[in-house]
Symmetry: C2
Subunit: 696 residues, 2 copies
């Protein structure tokens, strides 16, 4: 397979996936929707989501503009020193990355805010049609996000043939994802937490009760946080995994390899496998939505495994690299299963926490935190083992060149993320059916439909926990690979300038150790800033909800025709999220630059490592404990330990409220934080090498 | 100053500190105690504490016996390979370390369970006598613990002149501290959490109400957890800092240095300064106990600073090393001040959390977790900066020998821990006056006495937060220094066996990275195991308390002559603690051995680093958030946001209950976990170098 054929194949597969997305979109759109209330509420949600997105993107466009100018002037090296075409290329690639990332979010919102209404309406006909609408709505997102990622990376590479430009594109995608995820995460949890707190806890009215002024904001949040934010996040992980692999493949191909071809080929096969899996997804006779979601994931995995084997055989790729890809795929699956154990309500941890809730909310928190800490172990060991095995597999390709081993790790990440098209589809399905459930409740579509959407929603939660574990595992490998990319970028820059490169990052070098410690502290501060943002914002919204219940006559009693002022709550969530989304991400970027200018590339090597370690630790802890609390609450609501309204339930609601920002704001944003920091370091490698206080 | 003079000076100072301890002990003992109830309850507490300690030490003696045999057979290398006298020396030094550590705990309990009664009784006469009894009781512990540490290390060195034996002694001290801390921590929080939960939350009866069946167990817990556990912990840190510094000083002295002398001399000056500070401590006219405690700390610090300057000048020590010591001392003070900011109820964080509690316990938890995460940053950066500066200060002494830089870090740790005698005195004062408060309440010594002990108790809490930050910072530097010790031990062993040593731990080496990740996961698992232990145990005790209130007629109503069965609760706490204390520590030790046998010394280098980073992160987070919640509750109890019994108070109690095992069980045990793992690695260096799966 020649280089150009591989690129052509990748572009073709991307276009095919866009075709699948377009087909699903028109299919979803053609589904009937006639209920007026559903329509009206659906329109409120859509408008709220679009307004937020518009305001968020306006803010971020300004921010991205400033960054683009900074890149133009300073990166990869100050424009007055170096080759200014490189600076222009990188700046354009960066903008290109932000635009693609924003588009991924926008498309997701567009379809999700239609699919929720259609899925709600379909629920009146039965579980299978309702499931299909929800799933295909999610698949529009899955197909277009991964198609855009592959297409974007391929085009940037085709035009520039330059690793720096691909990294710039990836940085554009990641930096937008960082802020979109933070903004969306703060919005959604502000609304969710305060709606639950006043509605469920204080007043004892059901979830999604239309009397609750925050209920529409809560539904908007599902879209802007879970759909758009998650899409941007996985777009960014996928791009970063390709970029890391490509940067090293380009370096290795200088010795006459075909590794670039392999990266594009495997990326395209992954997307193709996901497209087939998505097209085949359908609910079986047993009416079990979880099974249907898992089955299509397994189909995708199997297709990917077989197709890469065939491709490796036909095109004479290195079997060792193929092995690394398969290691990634397998370990990804294992991490998913482990996450499931810690968050599934059929398993011990959730049961234990639910039972502990009988003794009060302090025990809910303590046991949840404990199991969250425990859950870190198998996933981290899984990542450690897959990094070690894939390195050891590929290093013998040329024992004198350490890049081979690192390339192996990056291909394990590509393997783990190969089926990401499928994963996004599953993941976006969740908030769509969650919204549908709300619409069924607000539109009074009947108990049967409520039961159906409840069961679809619960399947979404189970699958979400698994895919989240998967996403963190993949991000873990990607950022380890990016560490290798950073070293290779430093050495390329050093060779160009005739200065000494780096052979290692020695832990016993105090500058490296300094970086390690500071890097480890950043994720903690980042999470804290996001959670305090949610906290502050939710407290403002609680005040507003209280005001409405007090001042709007007849609202609490549910008097006919009396409506809360939904838009006030949406406004508070929007303004608050916009105010809080910049500082945390900026702090991480500035800390990286400071450490780089103080300690040079050695300190950055340590900084990235510390950041990866503590980022993984906290992300796994927060995602898993959050999922666990959520499901412990659901388990009690299903009638155990006294069911709804019991003391155990009240305690479990506290756990869930704490877990919400853990699992939907801070936890998943950490992936992106670490990726952004890694990419900032890679594209600033030359700068750190030349400008630093006492790096060497 | 000759070598022997320095050792003689160190022994003399240790004996002097024992003299001070003996003087205080007899002074405390001679204070009047006449109240019969106080006597009876005091006896219950003393018996409970002694019973627990006896059973714990019996269990640990068996455990230590097994470890001693393993050391005898396998360490520093299998007895059939090497020099068996080395094995015997190390095994004996190990046992010696465990015995000294156990004694430190025992002495602390002995005096604390007398001083609590005397201090309670003194409170009827005024705040100054009550303070002095509490403080001098604590000082008995401070003086004897640090005296024992200095004496033990000096004797082991005097007899063996062998770094391995000093490390073996340190390992003995640490391993006992690990289990004692875990056992005591589980005991104390089991009792505290369940007493609060049933007493304060469910029944609304005051703290220390004699009707509560868990109240005596709670007071016993203050002694076995806070006094004995904390003593063993700081004994272990102090020994480890001396051992790490000595191991490197011995290596450097081979080149003709006087570094060993310097270590002993500075260690002795620190103890002497503490003894003078302790002797001078007295409450001023303003009746402010916090001020009195802080003032004596400042006096000690100043004496240490001046005396080391004079010593360096007279004895011609290296000024650069002296600089590292002073850097450690200064940064320790800064970390203490930062901890104070995050846990002091006059400052923003505590106020914010107290205010957030008005919206419910979920917000108490969320904001507390957030500030806990934030608090990590300044302390970690402080440790990073002091490690970097002390390394850079000392490395130029011989740029070709990296041990100088590492020795600088170890001396910064010695500097930070120099005033530990003072710190222990302050720290042990806390639980003594806490207990005194309980005795005043149970003995009905009057409202005036209650007010006095309340104010003494609150000063104890403030000072405790600061000293805890100090202890974690010092442990952080010590374990970084132990990383250097590990490398130097590996290279000594490698040179002896004629194999290649290590020059660095390269992060990009996948074996090192594997170790990094696994090492980072261990503290999370360790904390989880301890907290689940508390959780399980507290749930058992809650059941027992409920049973007593139900079955014992007249107990709830406080009928004259009706007493709860205190011993049942003490029994549950004891049995539970003994059952839960071994697994977590064993897990950490076994994980170290597994990683070492799989990946060899390189993997261990990564493992220790990951362990240090995540251990510091979690320890700071848990200690500070726990302290913050405790003080937020106290702030509300002082009448803010509705005061006692308000909704905000209930939410704050949940925060405090979560924070209790954070700050008193898991958080402080993490120091010891990291230290033990570092020492296990150092004494097993030869073994890992020769026996491993694929280390190199």
């Amino acid at each position: 397979m020649s280089n150009i054929t591989a690129l052509f194949f990748a572009i073709l597969v991307s276009l095919f996936s866009f075709g699948v997305a377009a087909f699903f979109y028109s299919w979803v759109n053609s589904q009937p929707s006639s209920n007026k209330t559903v329509h009206a509420v659906g329109a409120l949600i859509r408008n709220g989501a679009n307004t937020f997105l518009r305001r968020e993107y306006t803010l971020l466009a300004r921010f991205a503009g400033v960054v683009a100018v900074l890149i133009l002037v300073f990166l990869p090296q100050p424009i007055w020193h170096g080759n200014y075409t490189e600076n222009i290329t990188m700046a354009i690639a960066y903008i290109f990355g932000t635009v693609f990332s924003a588009m991924a979010g926008k498309i997701g919102i567009m379809v999700a805010t239609i699919a929720n209404m259609k899925s709600a309406e379909a629920a009146t006909k039965g579980i299978r049609p309702s499931f299909l609408v929800g799933f295909r709505g999610g698949a529009v997102m899955g197909m277009s996000v991964v198609g855009a990622s592959l297409l974007g990376v391929t085009l940037v590479y085709l035009i520039t043939k330059n690793a720096g430009a691909v990294l710039g594109f990836s940085f554009g995608a990641s930096s937008l994802a960082l802020f979109a995820k933070a903004g969306g995460g703060i919005f959604t949890k502000t609304a969710d937490v305060s709606a639950d707190l006043v509605g469920k806890v204080e007043l004892g009215i059901p979830e999604d009760d239309p009397r609750n002024p925050a209920v529409i904001a809560d539904n908007v949040g599902d879209n802007v946080g879970d759909v758009a934010g998650m899409g941007a996040d996985l777009f960014d992980s996928h791009v970063a995994s390709l970029a890391a692999a490509l940067a090293m493949a380009i370096a290795l191909d200088k010795g006459g390899g075909n590794y670039t071809i392999m990266v594009f080929c495997f990326g395209a096969i992954g997307l193709l496998a996901s497209a087939i899996g998505v097209l085949m997804a359908r609910m079986g006779k047993n009416d079990d939505p979880t099974r249907a979601l898992n089955l299509s994931t397994y189909i995708t995995t199997a297709i990917f495994g077989v197709a890469t084997t065939v491709a490796t055989w036909i095109f004479n790729f290195e079997w060792r690299i193929w092995g690394a890809v398969i290691v990634g795929l397998l370990v990804g699956t294992i991490i998913g299963i482990v996450s499931d154990y810690f968050t599934n309500d059929n398993k011990n941890p959730v049961r234990y926490v639910a039972n502990a809730s009988k003794s009060g909310s302090a025990f809910t928190i303590l046991s949840g935190v404990s199991y969250g800490f425990l859950s870190v172990f198998p996933a981290i060991v899984g990542i450690a083992v897959s990094a070690l095995v894939s390195y050891k597999l590929c290093a013998p390709l040329d024992p004198s060149n350490p890049v081979y081993g690192m390339f192996g790790i990056s291909m394990a990440a590509v393997g783990m993320l190969s089926i990401v098209g499928m994963i996004i589809s599953n993941d976006a399905y969740g908030p769509i059916v969650d919204n549908a459930r709300g619409l069924v409740e607000m539109g009074n579509l009947g108990d049967k439909a409520l039961e159906i959407t409840d069961s679809l929603d619960s399947a979404g939660n189970t699958v979400k926990a698994v895919t989240k574990g998967f996403a963190i595992g993949a991000a873990g490998l990607t950022i380890i690979a990016l560490l290798g990319t950073f070293m290779s970028e430093v050495n390329v820059a050093a060779a160009e300038r005739g200065v000494a490169g780096i052979e290692n990052f020695d832990i016993l070098n105090p500058v490296v150790f300094f970086g390690l410690l500071v890097g480890a502290a950043v994720p903690a501060v980042f999470s804290a800033m996001l959670m305090l943002g949610v906290d502050r914002n939710a407290q403002r919204m609680v005040v507003e909800i209280h005001r409405q219940f007090k001042e709007i006559v007849g609202l609490k009693e549910g008097k006919e025709g009396v409506q809360p002022e939904y838009d006030k709550c949406i406004d508070i969530a929007t303004i608050g999220a916009l105010r809080e989304l910049i500082p945390a991400g900026l702090m991480a970027i500035i800390a990286t630059l400071l450490v780089g200018f103080i300690g040079g590339v050695n300190a950055i090597g340590g900084f990235l490592t510390g950041n990866i370690i503590s980022g993984l630790l906290l992300a796994l802890f927060m995602s898993n404990s959050g999922g666990l609390w959520d499901n412990a609450k659901k388990y009690i609501e299903a009638g155990n330990h006294g069911g709804k309204g019991s003391d155990a339930h009240k305690a479990a609601v506290v756990g869930d409220t704490v877990g919400d920002p853990f699992k939907d704001t801070a936890g998943p944003s950490l992936n992106t934080q670490v990726t952004v920091v890694s990419l900032v370091s890679s594209i600033s490698a030359t700068l750190f090498l030349t400008v630093n206080l006492f790096g060497k």
